[in-house]
């Protein structure tokens, strides 16, 4: 019930395409859903986050879509660039209880020039 399931494990997209990464969760007590981006040799860094009271959040070229009834959320990257090549992690936490962050297994994204 604590798991966050992420897919695909890896993704290759042509420059300008729209990669989509999907995540699903079971525990309805999760109330905060961040996405982290990790470049090789670096720790993950927060990219964008959403709460279940909204269905979509956009920051620059990054958009989170959230489907509360299906318990799914996804990351879309518009006009993808080679510099977006990284590993992306979705995550969830129960900020109404504690601040532990549970991560998905990650998606290695490669944007072809």
């Amino acid at each position: 019930q604590q798991q966050v399931k992420q897919s695909p494990q890896s993704l290759i997209v042509q420059k300008g395409g729209i990669p989509i990464i999907n995540c699903a969760y079971e525990n309805t007590a999760f109330d905060y859903f961040p996405w982290y981006q990790q470049f090789p040799g670096k720790g993950p860094a927060l990219l964008i986050a959403i709460r279940p009271d909204v269905s979509e959040k956009k920051e620059g070229r990054f958009t989170i879509s959230f489907n509360k009834s299906a318990k799914q959320f996804s990351l879309h990257i518009m006009d993808s660039q080679p510099g977006d090549s990284a590993t992306y992690f979705c995550a969830a936490s129960m900020t109404n209880r504690d601040d532990k962050i549970i991560f998905g297994k990650g998606t290695r994204l490669h944007i072809l020039p």
């Binding site: 604590q2 670096k42 993950p44 927060l46 986050a49 601040d99 962050i101 998905g104």
Partner: protein, 116 residues
């Protein structure tokens, strides 16, 4: 800028050794975390601390212990290192927001531990 500093980028230890991984944060964050990162398994929470001397087990605490004697420092201890503990270890910290608006975690660069 928030800074989370892990004491070593690379470590090589022998089986059975006691290993200390140190993490220091400079933003007065209440929460600190230790994760291990393995290919195909993502980030798995080992231990979490929300205050000095307080700790909670994460998903994979077996073989590990932690120490938080000061707010800025969170140590991960491998009591008797084994080869299956070869991994990338990531420390993180976050602000304990009383309004629960955000729990952004700031990560260190990681320590790649090899146990031989």
């Amino acid at each position: 800028d928030v800074k989370v500093t892990q004491s070593s980028r690379y470590l090589v230890k022998r089986t059975g050794e006691k290993v200390f991984l140190e993490c220091v944060q400079d933003m007065d964050h209440e929460n600190m975390f230790w994760y291990r990162q393995d290919p195909g398994l993502g980030l798995r929470l080992i231990y979490f601390s929300y205050d000095v001397k307080m700790k909670e087990k994460g998903d994979i605490p077996e073989g590990y212990s932690v120490s938080r004697e000061k707010k800025e420092r969170f140590s991960l201890i491998l009591e008797s290192a084994s080869t299956n503990q070869t991994s990338m270890y990531l420390c993180a910290s976050s602000y304990r927001d009383p309004h629960r608006e955000s729990t952004e975690a700031f990560f260190g660069q990681g320590t790649r531990l090899t146990v031989v």
